[in-house]
Amino acid sequence: MEKQHWEDFPVGRVDDFGNRLVTEEEIIEFATEFDPQPFHIDKEAAAEHFFGGIIASGWHTGSMLMRMLVDEMLINSTSMGSPGVDELRWKAPVRPGEILSVRSEVISATVHKYKSDRGFTKFSYVVSNEKGKVKLTMTSTILFLKKAVGGSQ
């Protein structure tokens, strides 16, 4: 399959993908390493907390979004990485047993100012669970190579 280039992501392109089961084991494993707050790692403490049970670290949810993006869009593209994320919001706690999926929409596409062989694409992402409840929203940019002009690149 041919790699997706900058031109393949026009403004308005929408993709729905991902089917990520969140397990309690994984929530605790991630948070033990990166975000060891009681409501992420301790079942008893989490039950008494206002979240009412273990919830995933927000950085874990962001990382799971990243994995779905890599599998669906980036692994077979000319992505050169990302300069950053403009905005991320955690809308609702992510709990064990939920299944996450992504809706991605291209909101802007601009050619690199100095390097005309590449361009920036800004995406808006919405992560929801299996019932359509929104869990996370994010706006971020990816740098893609453009298609070679005249095939001589």
């Binding site: 975000d35 707050q37 874990h60 990382s63 990243m66 994995r67 890599v70 980036l74 950053g84 991320l88």
Partner: protein, 151 residues
């Protein structure tokens, strides 16, 4: 440790903390799970990429930063979680053997109008490597419990 409430947190307050050595094993392990692009997991392909060697996933750098924040800052605050953050930037690649540290500054604070028993702390989080190069920054938002309902 004294717990910091909304009233205790001063605009302009700076904290510097953390000393996280980044190993190649951890970089590959994290990226294998969450960001399996070749320049994060495959040493041969990474050497040929624009990065010239394996680099950490940006989400890994952010997660390592969170760990330093939890160990040194979050746990001392009467925190109520965070709604998210803004303008995260990755400036330089993080490579195996780098040592990361964090600089946190309080930029602003606002008491909640609808729930005056809490407020939001606006911060800037900057992450540096051992050569004092900034590798990442973002604008943090944190909700913190207040001691009283007025200033």
């Amino acid at each position: 440790m004294t717990t910091e409430y909304f009233e205790d947190i001063q605009i302009g307050a700076v904290r510097e903390f953390g000393s996280k050595i980044v190993s190649k094993k951890e970089i590959i392990e994290f990226a294998t799970k969450f960001d399996p692009q070749s320049f994060h997991i495959d040493e041969v392909e990474a050497a040929d990429s624009i990065y010239g060697g394996i680099i950490a996933s940006g989400w890994h750098t952010a997660s390592m930063t969170m760990r330093m924040m939890v160990d040194h800052m979050v746990s001392s605050r009467a925190g109520l979680g965070s709604p998210g953050w803004n303008n995260l930037r990755w400036y330089k690649p993080v490579r195996p053997g780098d040592t990361l540290r964090v600089r946190s500054e309080v930029i602003n604070k606002k008491r909640s109008v609808s729930r005056p028993t809490m407020g939001t702390i606006f911060g800037t989080i900057q992450v540096f490597n051992q050569d004092a190069e900034m590798v990442m920054s973002f604008e943090s938002l944190g909700m913190v419990l207040a001691k009283t309902t007025d200033e």
